[in-house]
Symmetry: C2
Subunit: 367 residues, 2 copies
């Protein structure tokens, strides 16, 4: 592994000092910030998420705030999902597309108030995008980055930990709904969400100066359930079929290709960006789709920085966009972004590190 | 130093394998790609740039290509600098601003043809920005990322190395001008440019599959001049007063604050994005400006990931946006983004790692 050089272009999160104290060993960058990717014990961190409870610095899930009389209008213009029935306190997973119907981010949209929305974004610059659209359409809305930094508590025991801090009402929260509250004077929004399928919550810290305090509060509260540090877990997210925008997508990916068609409402108004292109793609059908690949071999492997080509009968048919060892399946698994001519059950060859590895296509999720 | 975890969100450059072979030890991320930041010998790498010739993988300087009948019109709409006299084969340093006059990138604009422009960008997503504007204004132009990856050859002996590969005509190139050519079958555009003040060229590789071949060609050609690997050099760029977009700027920085006023032509047409805001800021005067800071103390220091606050008479007046040891001045130096009330010669206090360090403001560049 190579070192990462400090730069003011790459901001640390409010939980940075706390994660250092807890032994973080590696980072990635995401939205021009540093996100922990390992505390040195990958298998322990995986099983902690599957069987217990794990806490993650996901402050890199930045918020694009839309504030003003036209905030709701801009939110809808940017999103290909119908937001008319979205309530204050509710979140929705949405596909943001450009005018060609290409996916440019897949945030959770949070309706904070009638005139205030947050897009809790994946790794691309939606501030620029939203500001360009707002200004060109002369909307009365201010686009900004508020002081908001999520801390995820994930795993089957996450509810117990979060309830011990905030009360049993958190069990009543529906998926992606949230509530603004505070704990020991620290303002937070508590949401039932998180980038795993093991259940859990995200605590949106609303005061970046209190990161270490919130981290240590959660750590202390979680002790009875053996909480420990972790991070968005590549093994679990692949098993669970969770999409990584920018990792599993390229500059030509539309929502239908990556299992997001159910979040596209083709009847939204014509001024929604990309909707005409999305209707056209829906009519003709996408040329690629996303499937799982079960690879042969019993040795853990990893994808590295690059996609790997997938061949069928000697012809390139797609790409392996991620790859990891499944501790539960005891197989190397990954996602294929692949021709719709290829279907579940097909045998393919993945070219990896100059070698050909046999694989079988399957539906997602794996587990 | 912490490790960086491989991810398909962070692409390696076409020169990645070659830099590994040459001993790269650390990276940063820039435009969602990896850029070498050290080959393990910082002082040697510095003096090689100052006295000899250094070769850098700067493939992260990506190109935003504008192609089509309205390419020139879009280039001007995005740029606050008059482009009417820009010739094919010429490059210009331009300030891209948003509608509020805030700097969003400081690329070199290259006019490749009457209907084709490249923006060789700093570290922010101008593809999204340009596509949003082009689509909203219904311009007939395609915005894309071509297969183009610069390799910089910098230092007083760079001209000799590049001439040995391409011929003596390269000495006739004016600053920021370029010419498309090839070397041993590898297509490149040779430009007189580079992010140092030591002179040099950038070879824009036009075929990403030939990165290792081009790297090794330059390495071989440079042997008589003791060429060696390096990277955009933080020590030299601070001494030379070169701006780092995103490092020395924040979400509220306009060109006048960071010595880019001379690249803003206030008379450009009203449809240029941000020009009305820039005229207003120019009229009232910016509230901050950029100066150098000479810090007391004889021990090398570094800024790390964060800006540091600058105080004068106990009142916060600005931020130290970078900091490095100057091998030539034998001082710690940095840039201040600071109130225009503070001027050259003023004594200030920088709060760094909890300690106060005395400094003196000065003009940029340092050398």
């Amino acid at each position: 592994m190579f070192g990462i050089t400090p730069s003011a272009r790459l901001r640390p999160s409010p939980f940075f000092e706390a994660t250092i104290a807890d032994g973080v060993t590696a980072f990635t960058t995401y939205n021009h910030m540093l996100m922990p990717t390992s505390f040195g014990h990958p298998e322990t961190e995986y099983w902690r998420l599957i069987n217990g409870v794990s806490m993650w610095d996901v402050a890199v899930e930045r918020q694009v705030q839309l504030l003003g009389p036209d905030a709701g209008r801009l939110a809808q213009i940017l999103s290909s999902r119908d937001l008319t029935k979205c309530h204050v306190g509710q979140g929705k997973y949405v596909a943001l597309c450009n005018h060609a119907g290409t996916l440019i981010n897949d945030p959770i949209l949070l309706k904070m108030a009638e005139d205030r929305y947050w897009l809790s974004i994946a790794d691309s610059n939606i501030w620029f995008w939203a500001r360009a659209i707002a200004a060109e359409r002369k909307l009365n809305v201010v686009v900004s980055e508020p002081d908001v930094s999520p801390l995820a508590v994930q795993g089957p025991k996450a509810g117990a930990v979060v309830a011990s801090l905030f009360g049993d009402w958190i069990h009543e929260l529906k998926y992606f709904w949230f509530k603004e509250t505070s704990v020991q004077g620290i303002p937070v929004a508590v949401a039932r969400s998180g980038w795993s399928k093991q259940g859990g919550f995200e605590l949106y810290l609303l005061d970046g100066s209190q990161g270490t305090k919130l981290w240590n509060l959660v750590k202390e509260a979680g002790k009875p359930w053996d909480i420990g540090p972790g991070n968005p877990n590549v093994f679990e997210r692949i098993e669970s079929g969770l999409l990584s925008y920018g990792g599993d997508t390229d500059d030509n990916t539309n929502p239908f290709e990556v299992r997001m068609g159910k979040y596209v409402d083709l009847y939204v108004p014509d001024d929604v960006i990309g909707i005409e292109a999305l209707r056209r793609i829906h009519r003709t059908g996408p040329v690629r789709h996303q499937l799982g690949v079960l690879l042969e071999g019993d040795e853990p492997t990893a994808l590295g920085f690059l996609w790997h080509s997938i061949y069928k009968n000697g012809v390139k048919v797609g790409d392996l966009t991620n790859c990891a060892w499944s501790y539960r399946l005891k197989k190397n698994i990954g996602f294929a972004l692949i021709s719709t001519q290829c279907v579940r059950g097909d045998t393919v060859d993945v070219i990896k590190d100059g070698k050909s590895v046999r694989g079988t296509l399957c539906e997602l999720p794996f587990i």
